[in-house]
Symmetry: C2
Subunit: 203 residues, 2 copies
């Protein structure tokens, strides 16, 4: 049976880097943006647009009230992306042992007994990490003040939480939904940290 | 400067065992019930009585209303125990590197940059652990049904949470107050687990 590690993460906490290093150490496949690219291939939507909605709680344009009952009509485009995302995550997990970042993979693959990692840190560390990586992954914008960047980080994490809570009925970042929650604020050497996490995983 | 590891833990999750093994691996002092015994020495109260109130939010028998203001009068015996507990925890941390279990040590020693561990697990694992250890530490009572034992575990954790939340103003078991939260439900070999946690600590 394939082994699966899922990584939930606060924006700027280094969850992606930790997940990637973990996959390298363990010789597992690594899936993150690959999921977006695969959805784009299978739908007529652009990768950029999918990136925008793939970890967002759907905006419900037509709430319907019937007597005392509230019906939420989730738009088709959003449902399609979510369905593709579910299928792709299941396919990836069935292919080989892997690390999957975000996208409720811990919940989608709950019957496969994944090792569920959650990565977080304090705001100061997240700001520093975003500043350091802004030219690469984070596109944080050198022009943003600390206050603006804090607001942006909080907004992204709020979206991730809303999305996770909406689709899983669980609480994002709450310990009971994970096997290991790690605060990366103390660490600068992510290589050593990933090795130590791999050791916990392999216990 | 002494190194400090604090261990918050759900009842039955093996936090004490993990803390003790961690102290052995790292060559740190280990404090848990020693704190109770030291308070008993310094006060005229029995260790059993102190054990009962040392991790309990105080019962406030005399709430006083003055106009719109509410005054909570915390009983003297409880204040004394809490003050002694704070002093002893500070003394222990100043003596040598150590692992301290429970008792808001993470908050009391927050200026010493402790490594803050939180240990938890699912109810099934906690029941199994309590059953296995009932003759030793847990005194769970072989006569309790699973339902009764679940209720007892929930009650103890509720007390711990109330106590922690009352004295720290923080939320017990919520990730932002810890450096590492570990779900022990997957593990049976606590020796290997403690070695892996020590590796994360030492990164």
């Amino acid at each position: 049976m394939n082994k699966i590690i899922t990584v939930g993460r606060e924006f700027g906490s280094g969850g992606r880097e930790l997940g990637r290093r973990l996959s390298e150490i363990l010789g597992f496949a690594y899936y993150d943006r690959e999921i977006i690219e695969e959805i784009a291939k299978r739908t007529s939507l652009s990768a950029q647009y999918i990136q925008h909605i793939a970890e967002q709680k759907p905006v419900i344009p037509f709430p319907i009230h019937t007597g005392r009952t509230f019906w939420a009509v989730i738009p088709d485009y959003n449902q399609n992306v979510q369905q593709e995302q579910h299928s792709i995550i299941r396919e990836m997990a069935s292919k080989s042992s892997c690390v999957i970042v975000g996208r409720c993979a811990d919940y989608i693959l709950r019957d496969e007994n994944p090792f569920r990692l959650f990565v977080y840190s304090d705001m100061q560390s997240k700001l520093a990490r975003c500043r350091k990586n802004e030219s690469a992954d984070y596109e944080a914008g050198a022009s943003l003040t600390d206050k603006e960047l804090t607001k942006r980080i909080e907004h992204i994490d709020k979206s991730r939480a809303d999305y996770y809570n909406f689709y899983t009925g669980q609480k994002w970042g709450s310990r009971e939904n994970y096997d290991l929650c790690i605060n990366t604020g103390r660490y600068s050497d992510f290589k050593a940290l990933a090795e130590a996490v791999a050791k916990i995983y392999s216990c």
